[in-house]
């Protein structure tokens, strides 16, 4: 009776996330695949070959790969000295610099795009580069966004490397460079590979930044799916492109998972002490590179802030005052989509409301997934079943937001599930995007708990629920807060899926910013910058509060 009750409980806990992912991930993605590959129920690859054969697609795929490779390479090359300086060395203000380099990563992608455009547009401080809408601008923005991923992932491992192995190499006659090359770099390799595969994934699925910054001439698979769907209404081409994107995402996820497992193995042998030491003369190159990067990170942020305060009549808060209006140009454009239907503040309120719903959905699903996947059942059959679940749940971990949005668009708009006009559509889509982050935050913490601690509680008479309450929950506590913060911030800044699904009368803040930046006029640009500052402030506050809850041991994960 007791055993059956427990099994029933586990089955119910598994059923909810399984159903959620089946309806809101597997079905939309499956429909995309079907639309791209099937014609009248039979496999027909003519659409695939046609799409992939077109010069436009080849250019888009080529640009996606080039942008991802360039962005990843630069982020790693610049991030290594940063990881060294910020995690292996000790200097006054280190904590502040660490926090500063993290800011770009938590900024919504639309804001990153707007900040770079504010630099590069006519009249901006770097207008002379004539880089607006170019490959270089997009790559710079991607490096800006992903630098923190490399610094934090590699740095967390570097901080725990035993310095004595490098010292042993030095004693055996290796120069500092040689010792780094022969001893330190191989030891860091798993962390570097892990960071690089993650950055590659983020670059390949970058949407908001590219859409804002790339202009009409520049496009990636993600933006092309959006263009084909919303501008050309060619759903079949969009479906084929989504299929391509799924392949890219799955491949980089597999690589990321493989390197993370290697890193986890490697980390086990690390001592748990900090090994930081003061900065020395020999560290000068690392200091110079990192100082340059920090200036590079500050420039777009400053430009965004200054730009938001610049009005046609001089510096002031005019742009922020305009946020209570629906923007200028309504009369000029007049047509559909050119004017905002609500004020920017109203959109910000929508964003907050949607984020609350998306967060609780993502937490409910994410926590259940973590609890289930972190279990180590003793029955072989249960272990096998869990292995299948594990793989299935990890599938959407690097989901492309555009794929989710597009998938929702083509599946949830008619019976059996017609959510087209429902207010839950956007929160659910954002929850699908946020669940991976919740899982990534909580799962390592749960997995770090020694199974024997749970066994000790069970032997002392604690049932499964009490084991969870006494062993898992106290450890998880702070991380739960962190995950809530992450989910909330992701939802606030979410643009890829929302851009497909938000109704014109209920836009979110990122959608409004995108509409404003696409419209002519200094007023609209100023409003876009001011709205970006508002959005950036909101996410930074949320993440800042959440970061205070971060458990030290979980620092290695994002």
């Amino acid at each position: 009776m007791d055993r059956h009750g427990r099994r029933l409980g586990i089955a119910l806990a598994a059923a909810l996330p399984a159903a959620f992912l089946a309806i809101f991930f597997a079905w939309p993605v499956g429909s995309i695949l079907a639309r791209g590959l099937l014609v009248d129920g039979a496999v027909d690859l003519s659409g695939v070959t046609e799409t992939l054969g077109s010069s436009r697609t080849r250019r888009v795929v080529g640009q996606t790969l080039a942008q991802s490779v360039a962005g990843t390479t630069l982020a790693v090359l610049l991030g290594l000295p940063g990881a060294y300086l910020l995690y292996r060395c000790n200097f006054p203000g280190r904590g502040a610099v660490r926090a500063l380099v993290t800011v770009p990563f938590v900024l919504p992608t639309v804001v990153v795009g707007v900040a770079f455009r504010s630099l590069l547009v006519d009249g901006g401080p770097l207008a002379f580069l004539d880089a607006d809408g170019t490959f270089g601008a997009v790559v710079a923005a991607l490096v800006f966004f992903n630098y923190a991923v490399v610094v934090r992932t590699v740095g967390a491992m570097w901080a725990h490397l035993d310095p004595r192995s490098e010292q042993a190499a030095r004693a055996l006659g290796a120069s500092p460079a040689r010792a780094f090359w022969e001893v330190t770099l191989p030891a860091l390799a798993p962390a570097i590979a892990s960071a690089a595969s993650l950055v590659f994934l983020f670059c390949a699925t970058a949407f908001g930044t590219v859409l804002v910054l790339g202009g009409p001439a520049y496009g990636t698979v993600e933006t092309e799916i959006w263009v084909q769907t919303t501008q050309f209404l060619d759903l079949r081409t969009a479906a084929v492109l989504s299929t391509v994107q799924l392949v890219v995402v799955t491949a980089s996820l597999a690589l990321s998972g493989w390197s993370r497992r290697r890193r986890e193995t490697a980390l086990r042998v690390q001592p748990d002490t900090e090994t930081a030491r003061p900065v020395r003369r020999a560290d000068l190159p690392a200091v110079l590179v990192t100082a340059a990067v920090v200036v590079g990170l500050l420039t777009p942020l400053t430009s965004l802030l200054v730009g938001s305060l610049r009005t046609p009549t001089g510096f002031g808060l005019g742009n922020f005052a305009n946020l209570s209006t629906t923007g200028s140009g309504d009369s000029a454009g007049g047509g559909l989509g050119s004017g905002l239907e609500v004020s920017v503040w109203q959109a910000a309120l929508n964003s907050l409301r949607i984020a609350v719903d998306a967060t609780w959905i993502a937490m409910l699903v994410g926590v259940l997934i973590c609890l289930l996947v972190s279990r180590r059942p003793r029955r072989p059959a249960a272990r096998r079943a869990l292995g299948v679940f594990d793989a299935a749940f990890m599938l959407p971990l690097g989901v492309s937001a555009v794929t989710v949005g597009f998938g929702f668009l083509i599946t949830l708009d008619r019976p059996p599930l017609d959510l087209r006009s429902s207010v839950v559509l956007v929160p659910i889509a954002q929850a699908v995007v946020a669940v991976p982050l919740v899982v990534r935050t909580l799962l390592p913490v749960l997995r770090s708990i020694d199974e024997r601690l749970r066994e000790a509680a069970a032997v002392l008479g604690a049932g499964p629920v009490r084991v969870f309450a006494t062993v898992d929950l106290p450890v998880l506590g702070r991380s739960l807060g962190l995950a809530v913060g992450f989910a909330f911030a992701v939802s606030l800044g979410e643009f890829g899926a929302t851009s497909f699904l938000a109704r014109p009368d209920r836009p979110t803040l990122p959608v409004v910013i995108f509409r404003l930046i696409g419209r002519p006029g200094a007023d609209n640009l100023g409003m876009a910058l001011a709205a970006s500052v508002v959005l950036a402030t909101m996410t930074t506050i949320v993440i800042g509060l959440a970061e205070r809850l971060r458990v030290q041991s979980a620092a290695a994960e994002l």
């Binding site: 003793r378 601690l453 066994e455 000790a456 069970a458 002392l460 008479g461 084991v467 006494t470 106290p474």
Partner: protein
Amino acid sequence: MSLDVRELTVTFGSTRAVDDVSVSIRSGEVVVLLGPSGCGKSTLLRAIAGLEHMDGGTVSWAGADLGGVPVHRRGFGLLFQDGQLFPHRDVAGNVEFGLRMAGAPRADRRARVDELLELVGLGGRGARPVASLSGGEQQRVALARSLAPRPRLLLLDEPLSALDRGLRDRLVVDLHDILASTGTTALYVTHDQDEAFALADRVAVMDAGRLLQTASPQQLWRRPRDEQVARLLGYRWFVAADALSAAARPSGVQPPDVLGLGAGSLVADPDGPLRGRVTGHRLTRSGTNVSVIVDGLGCMQARAGSLQPLPVGAAVRLRLEPDEVAVLGHPGDAHAGTG
């Protein structure tokens, strides 16, 4: 008979970690499972606790099958090698955990915690955070925690292995006294023969997943069932009784007996019946160990009582120390003491 394990089997993939093991423990008895690392003894212990999936066999208590009883309802205590104290609770909070699970009233819990901390020699330290304790103290707290709910069976999984030698020697004495004074029924897993000797009412020798022999410590060391068991107990050379002259045989030893000899079995003695030649020596705490070639028996080691080294090449006379010699079980009584 209180605990009764019948034909228990646990497999990991294609490995049979525990292979058809049967063992019983009487109320108040301390049974030590002795075996090399990786022999499956910890797995057997965990299967009895209900922490390991069983592929065959039964575990029962007082005749009632425990197969469907989950870990937390078995009323067994378990002590891990490294304590596994709850890091977010203080010493008293750890010790009272099992009592809280059992729903004991607050006053009873407090009294029992004080009593147990006193018992393990940590009286008055209930409010200390567990991280501030030394390894030995943590293990004492873990022992108090597992004893607090008065488990009907205490399972101990190499509880002293993580500690250094001196601490281990002291704690093993304390542990013996605590188990005896509380009348605790216990199954104790170790690879250390000294611990087994110090604690056990009966010792069960395990290797490669199988239980080889169960006997009292004296019986086991004097009459191991066969050469395999004798080797696990540290006997290294095996001599048929008829290879020894009657004078050289310990009393009561007759052909076709086979003797097992260990490092202390041969002693240098000017009047000894055996002759040999020294090939090397090394100092130990209890005297000199010499390597000797014994006439008719081959290369062995012997103990030379004094610390004066015997020169290499010297002729030496030796005798067998009767208390340090094992007589391997006769085929007929190979299972003496099992069960």
